[in-house]
């Protein structure tokens, strides 16, 4: 059983344990399994050792290094790290080292965390399996023939494999929650604006949000408390102070109203074991004193279609900056337009090009209103229906991902099949709401190469904007009720 971040920080702060020893245990785990899992694009072992020694020196001087003292953390490789390669798993950023740190990177560093490396992702966070990486796929630590989910698959796998105690990812349509579900860890998409996006390489700016991975709900709450809060460098960050999460974590769910979203749970695309896990979690919450019922939120079924117009439209605009002029790759051409187009064709992978094309088309003259405009109106309908649901319920429950982890290559031939992985997670991004995935049991899957393996299932807890305190209480109760949970 892995140490919790909260326990490590308490021990390091009290001088009972050295940050350096904690780090060496994790580096040993990386040496043992990273060649199989490929969670990282870069392991920053030397910098991490220097940082751990700094933490230990601070403790011996009598200073307090902070609430994440000596906790090893992995960062998705779309978070800018000053002077350290940040690739987004794309050839187009080849050799680029950011001239500044993302705000979240500063915050975890200042809280005493030890950064162990940059994790693999689907290129520019576009994908649901971490197979769309210029540097090769990441594999699921539970079964190496299967994907870890995506796009933050490297961060999820790093925590699941014990390479790091915590990790950060980004979630635009489920890219933290879905890999958390597939890798058996906790993953959180905070309320839009709760965490600064400054230094997160932009994909779809009205949907992107940075969130934590952890092995427990408590650790995820601790990490979110550290990274949340206003940042003048992100004009979309919420000005009011972020709510405390740990204080109320153990308050229980007595009297809380919990709605199981019918459209996302009773859907024919949902694997039976996954549906059963959501129902078992709801029953457990009822047994713990919550009032549970089913609730219909019909327009969530249109979330996927709206998302695959809105997100590519925003991406086509955001990724226009990769022009061969300011960073990374340049492929020479006859003139500047030719250089731009050759650089972009050569530097971007297949899925990124597909989404740029889709977004450019959806925004082009003659199609704008039918596609992008209509998707934005559907976004409004989804928000309105959620608002009605949250008049009757404090939180909602749904699957996180439709299935457990699938085999590598199983969904790469048909983009639409891959997109369907995000059907249950996308609505919260469109609404700007909070949501998180909590491990709840597993399903046996027979496997051609490795026989039967137990693959984790995640249950999703959804909450309205700024609903994190209640969402975490419910998630904690789900965690306690989970098979083998504590």
């Amino acid at each position: 059983m892995a140490d919790s971040a909260i326990a490590i920080a308490a021990d390091v702060r009290a001088g009972r344990r050295r940050a350096r020893d904690v780090l060496e245990q994790h580096l040993a785990q990386i040496s043992a399994r990273e060649a199989d899992v490929h969670a990282f694009n870069l392991v920053t072992a030397d910098d991490a050792r220097a940082r751990a020694d700094e933490i230990d020196d601070a403790v011996s001087r009598g200073d307090d290094p902070g609430p994440l003292a000596g906790v090893p953390i992995a960062l998705k490789d779309n978070l800018c790290t000053r002077g350290v390669a940040t690739t987004c798993s794309s050839r187009i950023l080849d050799g680029w080292r950011p001239p500044y740190d993302a705000t979240v990177v500063e915050r975890v560093h200042d809280a005493g965390a030890v950064i162990v490396g940059k994790t693999n992702l689907d290129e520019f966070a576009m994908g649901s399996s971490t197979e769309n990486s210029a540097f090769g796929a990441t594999r699921n630590p539970y079964d190496l023939s299967r994907v870890p989910g995506g796009s933050s698959g490297g961060s999820a796998a790093a925590v699941a494999a014990g390479f790091a105690t915590l990790a950060l990812g980004s979630d635009t349509g489920g890219s933290v929650r879905q890999p958390a579900s597939l890798c058996g860890v906790v993953g959180v998409k905070p309320t839009y604006g709760a965490v600064s996006r400054y230094g997160l390489v932009a994909f779809a700016s009205s949907l992107d949000q940075i969130g934590p991975f952890a092995t427990s709900v408590g650790d995820a709450a601790q990490l979110l408390e550290v990274i949340a809060g206003h940042d003048p460098c992100d004009s979309t960050s919420i000005a009011e102070a972020a709510p405390a999460l740990l204080a109320d974590l153990e308050r229980g769910v007595e009297g809380l109203r919990v709605g199981v979203v019918e459209e996302l749970t009773d859907n024919e695309g949902i694997q039976d074991d996954v549906k059963a896990a959501v129902e078992a979690a709801a029953d457990a919450l009822a047994a713990a004193g919550a009032k549970t019922d089913r609730v219909s939120v019909p327009s969530t079924m249109y979330g996927l279609s709206a998302y695959y117009l809105i997100a590519p439209a925003e991406a086509s605009s955001n990724l226009a900056r990769y022009d061969g002029v300011r960073y990374g790759l340049r492929v020479d051409g006859a003139d500047i337009s030719d250089m731009n187009a050759r650089t972009r064709d050569s530097g971007f992978g297949v899925e990124v090009k597909r989404r740029i094309m889709l977004g450019t088309y959806a925004l082009s003259a003659g199609y704008y209103d039918a596609y992008y405009g209509q998707a934005q109106r559907v976004r409004t309908l989804i928000i309105r229906e959620f608002e009605r649901a949250y008049e009757q319920f404090d939180v909602l429950l749904a699957p996180t991902a439709p299935t457990v982890a699938f085999e590598l290559g199983a969904k790469t031939a048909d983009p639409l099949t891959m997109y369907l992985n995000d059907v249950c997670t996308i609505p919260s991004n469109l609404a700007g709401h909070a949501a998180m995935s909590v491990p709840f049991g597993s399903a046996l899957a027979s496997d051609a190469t490795s026989g039967a393996s137990a693959l984790p299932i995640g249950v999703q807890v959804l909450a309205p904007a700024r609903g994190e305190p209640v969402m975490f209480r419910v998630a904690r109760a789900v965690e306690q009720a989970a098979p083998g949970g504590a």
């Binding site: 009205s206 979309t236 250089m339 094309m357 889709l358 082009s364 039918a370 934005q376 639409l416």
Partner: protein, 101 residues
């Protein structure tokens, strides 16, 4: 043209708009793929949105101001050091339009 169905010529046009020098193979693959994705995405038109305002952003933000106080920016030389080509403190780019270099 039916909604969601794209021709190869349209895909070439979009590639030009997106500044992507796609190869013939890429154009051949993308034409049916994009058509299929758009067909799915066009499901949004099944919903009645008469009188529903669009949502561009989840937060009700209008203008976000900060005090007009100078702050240090990024160091020019550090930024230029990461560019593919720089000269005299500026990004260096290939010829634009037809003028002499």
């Amino acid at each position: 043209m039916s909604e969601g169905s794209l021709t190869r010529a349209e895909v070439e046009h979009v590639a030009r708009l997106a500044r992507l020098a796609l190869t013939d193979d890429e154009l051949d693959a993308l034409t049916p793929e994009l058509s299929k994705i758009l067909e799915h995405a066009a499901q949004v038109s099944a919903l009645d949105t008469e009188g529903v305002p669009p949502t561009a952003h989840p937060l009700p933000l209008v203008n976000v101001f900060r005090p007009d106080v100078a702050r240090p920016g990024l160091a020019r030389d550090e930024v230029l050091a990461e560019a593919p080509a720089a000269e005299d403190g500026r990004f260096r780019v290939p010829r634009i339009l037809g003028e002499a270099p």
